[in-house]
Point group: C3
Chain length 347, copies 3
């Protein structure tokens, strides 16, 4: 990594320097971990003391922040210090450098169309009539089935398998081990034996989607499994056949969505959430880790958890309540006794 | 895809045409999505209106169905329209075409026996003494360890790893990223440190088993981990060492079965179910999503859910009950007051 | 496998033979499954009858065990029969034989340093400045990103992807399909759209760690995601960015740990446990399957389960309690009636 001056950092992010504009950094760090060659940021007022203690060479601070003590590094004031910090990360510290060209040990069908500046790594297998757009980065050991379309600047890490006819948008990222377009889980019982229902639909992924490592997105039985633009999935997430995940949805690790369910835009699903099949989840809802969604969710802007999913406070009330039952039993027993005593006085 | 006539479709499935036997289709679709070149099916009486509105060129209908309005396409009557539709899917729309031969970039041990009409894709690694039966389709980037046996017409998708000595039956399907025969999770604590217990058993998979993407089937400590015939696993399922999954079991995504448990035939496990180790689950039981099975299940034909797993209705009663506890507390408090009042009158 | 005599087995493990020291075995088995060529062990007094019924050629028995009936095989007395048995397994029945050398179809960057006796399989991709120590076994189809360090005698099975700059200790095992160093799940909402927070930290794994198949260990946002020495993970486990898993922790299958959480040494997490982010879990705690840890755990030596995690007995009491609520409702109703009757007598 090269050296980066406060002057450069301020000019790229539109920040205002206070201190030595020639201070240079070569790494990024948390305020309490960095040294004189680190860039840090200060956003949460709770950690103001770290600004004064930090050894970071350069620190992004909020525009309206006025240090009350001495600070050792150069300060750069910005409306959104964390945003500015991320900008610098993206521009200068991105560990994924762009490559171009087709590795001689990639196997590419003669009918595939690969943009000139795309990169295809070794041990890749690119099927017939595949189209890979410009800037795409296909790391080593990736399979892309016949007829797939891969958008501009897509990044597909090692070991990913994309089955035939999948349509992938621009600026897509799939981390290692993802499987896209495998058969939906469709079997019909016929006299105690399961008959396979061929899965002849496809997967469609819109722009700016990211999938974590080892995710599984099944192809539709018929029609499409859809992940809409801007949606982000963590590792080991399962999306079943014919599911539609709306725009700008966030799904944490190990969550599964069963077949044909529609998840509204801007929903947030915690880790290990289970969503049953054939449901509609209204937009802008948030589900806690391990929630089990078993029915349609018609209202928006709810925070739910539990199985079946309910309001978070109701869930916690239920947990507390179930702990009190044995106490209530005792109290009721006592009341019975007292009533019996009262009764006996009347006899 | 080629064109397929009503005449051909009727003859293959044993259906009876009513309308133009020369109508041709080239795709399959839902009734409300297809066009004049689509084959659809009508099975659920609830959707009868779709038969009249559908633009599908050919529609499978139940034998005893008599349309009450005009239908635009050709009808084919069949005892089981969905079954007939699936037959056509399997025969003419299967996206997985069969290949034969060994790709020059597959690495195959000299002692391996590969049937003449099997297919081995590029970047595969086939170990010593492996036997691959006729019709098997080994897609690219598959590892098959020493001494494995792979049955007839098995289909193994990209990126699958099968460890040594695994025995796989006929008509097996493993979707991309599956791992079969990795070490069971066996460690013995010795003075605060975990000692590895070598896993020297194997995995045995009987005929007609299908595994979804990124499933993990561990080898036995000693003896065998067994998946019996006809059983189907969805994506990301975990089967631990020495587990025995019975015949015709269905396991939905992200479910895990711990070591040495026996699951009876024709059980159905929902998604994200957890089954503890060393249990016996009687046949023909059904478990809801996220159920946690912590004890033996001796009766059959139950529908259970919750952790620990109980009757579905009992579980829901418990959820409702726990919500009512604070109300009961109030009522008991009120009763106490009233009793105190009654008592005071006696004093 | 070669033949192994009782004499040899006794000398390697320090056991004492009673019977024919020339008895030879060629496999290992459970007492009730073995034949005259099998080595078995007897440890649990509950199964004493199996010793007398067993056909095993050689049986490890506890030092203080005196058979009450005739035993067909040769006996070897040992302080810890199971430990001795595992020793024999490791030494003579380990299915993973060590190899050396670099396969001609492995792609290795010119700047990588590979120890002379390490093994690199075909279709591997080893990046720039990677260091692989002596004895390491890199199976086929493994990617190791730029700047990674792999310790001595590490075993990395097929299809594993290790992203750049990961630091892996000695005697490491990663089963097939693991992903190490993929991006942490970091996105900041900016006007309803998620902005990627570049993940520029690394993964550090200390000595003697084992990962099951298809595990995911994310790189840190900044700094390190750490798995400390001796820790063992089962299949499909998720470790998020900046997590620190302490020494000698055991984590069963499908468990997930969210970002920045610290898990104390010698904790045991069951299967499908979910741990929320930014928590501290004290050492020596044990969590049941499907537990959901949502707050800091400050005490040690607890057995907890449920969501939120609580004492195991409290959890079960809550489950039982919630089932009794409708009965309590009835009882309260009855008490009300009786009180009303009593009241009416006073009027």
């Amino acid at each position: 990594m090269t050296l980066l001056s406060a002057k450069k950092i301020a000019s790229v992010t539109g920040g205002i320097i206070s201190g030595n504009e020639n201070t240079e950094i070569q790494s990024v760090a948390k305020l309490n971990e960095g040294d004189e060659y680190s860039l840090g940021f200060f956003a949460n007022p709770k950690y103001e003391h770290q600004v004064y203690e930090s050894r970071c060479g350069i620190i992004f601070i909020p525009k309206d922040f006025h240090p009350q003590k001495k600070v050792s590094g150069t300060l750069i004031a910005h409306e959104n210090p964390y945003f500015a910090f991320c900008q610098i990360l993206s521009l200068f510290f991105n560990p994924n450098t762009k490559r171009t060209g087709i590795h001689p040990q990639a196997l590419i069908d003669a009918t595939a169309e690969i943009a000139e500046d795309a990169y295809i790594g070794p041990f890749c297998h690119i099927g017939a009539h595949v189209k890979i757009a410009r800037g795409a980065q296909i790391h080593e050991r990736v399979s892309i089935g016949d007829g797939c379309i891969i958008g501009e600047d897509a990044t597909i890490f090692s070991g990913v398998t994309i089955y035939s006819l999948s349509q992938i948008g621009n600026r897509f990222t799939a981390h290692a081990g993802c499987v896209i377009g495998s058969d939906g889980f469709g079997f019909a019982p016929v006299n105690g034996v399961y008959m396979k229902i061929p899965q002849v639909g496809i997967v469609e992924i819109e722009d700016d989607v990211e999938l974590g490592a080892n995710c599984c997105i099944d192809r539709a039985t018929m029609g499409k499994t859809i992940i809409k633009k801007g949606t982000k999935l963590d590792n080991l997430v399962q999306i079943a056949h014919n599911v539609e995940v709306g725009e700008h949805v966030v799904i944490a690790s190990q969550t599964g969505v069963a077949g044909s369910t529609v998840i509204g835009h801007h929903c947030v699903l915690g880790g290990q959430v289970g969503v049953a099949g054939h449901l509609h989840i209204a937009p802008h809802n948030s589900f806690g880790g391990q929630a089990g969604i078993t029915g349609n969710i018609k209202e928006s802007n709810q925070k739910m958890t539990g199985t079946p999913a309910m309001d978070v406070n109701a869930y916690l009330r239920g947990v507390v309540g179930s702990q009190k039952v044995s106490q209530l039993q005792k109290e009721i027993k006592q009341l019975k006794k007292e009533i019996d005593t009262l009764k006996s006085r009347h006899e």
